[in-house]
Amino acid sequence: MTTREMTGRVMLGLLMSLTATAPAAAWSYKEAAKPYAGQSITVLDEITPLQETMKTLVPDFVKETGIKVDYQLLNHFEVISKGQADMLSGRGAYDAVMVHSPQMGIVLQADVIRPIDDLLANKTLTNPELDLKDVIQPAWDSVAKFRGKTYGLLDWNYNVVYWARNDVLSHPDEKAAFKKRYNYDLAPAKTLQQMRDIAEFFTRKKGEKLGGETLESDFYGVVLEGIKGGTTFWTLWNAFIKNFGGDIFDRDGKPTIDRPENVAGVKLWAELWKFAPPGQAEYSLIDVPTVMGNGIAAQTLAWSDFVLGIDQPGKSKYAGKFVYAGSPANAKSPRTRSAETEPSIIVISKQSKRAEPTYLFLQWMVDKTTQKRFFETSKGAGVPIRESTWKQPELQQSRFAGLYEAMRDTLAHGRAKPKAPKIFEIMDVMSGIVQEIALGKKTAEQGLKEGQEKVMAICSKCTL
């Protein structure tokens, strides 16, 4: 080789290595979506003000990527029945469907959802700054991961918080009387036992005094969801039973309904009904915040996203008079602290022929930029899915700062429902039984024993 040739080669080599180490073009949705621009995808999500806010942001995704997104919103009962009907029947009109954690058992067993691990690993499709470590745990893992595969990104992070009337809890007369009776200071309940004492203390009849004023109608110490169906049983299970160290299944998925720990949990929950409005057996998760907003109860455990809607001037006379805390622990068993949460994901249907553009959209929904903009748009109203969101100024400076603290506390102790295909049937049976226990028609022991028999008849190994 001549010197010239060698120099040429070296220079060529240098040039090549330089270009190789030069920074590649920054990843963008536009670039990643190029092969899919112009395609249409249909996504079914549940409707609450949160999704309505998200809907206002969707056009930006469409503009940037050219992927047409039909972001449909249906209410809770419809998104479950229609969404499942679509996937289970093989119809596949939806590319992606929102599922709540209890639905995972069914859709996994029916094998109608597509794992996204390959998409997550695909560097062309995945935003390098997605930062999945930032996603709140154990919420995401407990709902989306199964047998080593991931089935979706955490989209919504519903949670139940403790909610109480600050004006009556901090009233000096009440505080004095409470201390005299129970020997500790009146404050928002940190334990279930405190919750019970406060409930007992504040249950008063019309004509008695409350916070220095005479009551014009009966006042109650607590209000909880009581209707058969809905999340009544979920809340009892996660916020009471588990706190006593109990559970409805054991490690192997065998039903253990009549465990003594469960009995204790149910007993305490049933006791609270003595201090609740008589219509409680009709109250759904929507009625409970409304009742609190009407000002007839002192405490409750309620879904935090509903609270955001009620504690607003104009929505409730008592707006601004509320205080929040994480779901209480069990004074007798603080280590088994548990809270009711409902982490939800949007899964990609196996029928979908557009998994990649759908994935791009779902990813966009949860990435840092969109989430930040979401909370800016909603002025801080939402249920964060990322740890970094807690620090956003909209939340920190919001009048709901206390509520966010409470959410954070609850989320640290909440897990998704177990992946049990028959869970709805189990829940239906148990819901009816515990309602009867609460109404005094059965004792906790009788009811749970009956529950054990009935659930064993449904499945002896219930989890996947």
């Binding site: 029916a110 008589p278 219509g279 057996a281 028959k422």
Partner: protein
């Protein structure tokens, strides 16, 4: 003597004419109702894994269904429901139709107004009565009844006995007008001659009613009763929205049970078996009803 002959008119030389008249309806029904039903029956004979048809299961789904206490309980609830609701609707409806038929003034306003409950969507009726009877805030339950000391500390839809009764009364409120209108139209369509003859003969109103009106109206009444029995048995929207089958299972009618089986448990094997079983039950019942009415009342 006063009765108009009701037997079939034109004789045997009708030939294919009646069949031509019936054909469109029968063909439509076969395609639109029979085919889905046969498909349902087909599904009920297989193992259903969610919405996928599995292996042949023979009567396994039926065995499971018929030994399911919850199924029988729901049949019992539906039966109790119609046993109380339909007679009430029929009695009140007939009374109302007779009153209307007396030449009530302003009938053109009163009739549509009276008919309003039957015109409302069941889902709206449910919401309406929730507003009226909800525990602790219902208009009637809290503001009226509790004021008079009735039902204090109670919640209608949360107490097993009252919940079913309330649902029955709501059904009566909703469907009596339907019965009333149908019977009223029937009364209005009756031929006048027999009545004129009866008046000439000096028959009392009661006699006229028993010997003339009832027999003439019998076919329509029988049809209305049968239709109401079948429809009331299938009641769904109102119960679903007001109690969802609760408290416990106190108001879990058959349709509620089936709804849960389909949409909560996705157990299509049991659900399709339920459809077939109920169908068979009603078919046998309607057959019996029809034969009895035909023979005893000569109405068919």
């Amino acid at each position: 003597m006063y009765l108009v002959s009701r037997r079939d008119g034109a004789g045997d030389e009708a030939g294919w004419f009646p069949y031509v008249l019936m054909a469109p309806a029968l063909i439509t029904l076969v395609v639109v109702a029979l085919v889905p039903f046969l498909y349902t029956a087909y599904l009920s004979l297989h193992e259903m894994q969610y919405a996928r048809v599995g292996n042949w299961a023979g009567f396994a789904n039926y065995a499971r269904l018929l030994t399911n206490a919850r199924f029988w309980h729901s049949v019992g609830i539906s039966a109790a429901f119609i046993a109380v609701a339909v007679p009430l609707e029929f009695g009140l409806g007939l009374l109302g139709a007779l009153v209307l038929n007396q030449g009530v003034r302003c009938r053109s306003i009163i009739v549509p107004v009276l008919f309003v409950p039957s015109m409302m969507a069941p889902i709206v009726v449910a919401i309406l009565w929730k507003i009226m009877l909800a525990g602790s805030w219902g208009l009637l339950s809290y503001n009226l009844l509790e004021r008079f000391g009735i039902l204090t500390g109670l919640s209608i839809f949360a107490s097993p006995a009252l919940a079913l009764l309330a649902l029955i009364l709501i059904d009566v409120w909703q469907w009596t007008p339907f019965v009333m209108l149908a019977l009223f139209a029937g009364l209005q369509s009756l031929p006048l001659m027999p009545y004129r003859a009866a008046a000439v003969d000096g028959a009392t109103p009661l006699q006229t009613f028993r010997r003339l009106t009832l027999p003439l109206l019998a076919p329509l009444m029988a049809v209305i009763v049968l239709l109401r029995l079948i429809d009331a048995f299938k009641i769904f929207d109102t119960i679903f929205l007001l109690t969802a089958g609760g408290p416990g299972q106190a108001t879990e009618s058959l349709s509620l049970f089936t709804y849960k089986t389909v949409f909560d448990f996705w157990d299509l094997g049991t659900a399709t078996a339920t459809a077939v079983v109920i169908w068979v039950m009603f078919f046998l019942f309607s057959n019996a009803f029809y034969q009895v009415v035909k023979r005893k009342l000569r109405a068919f």
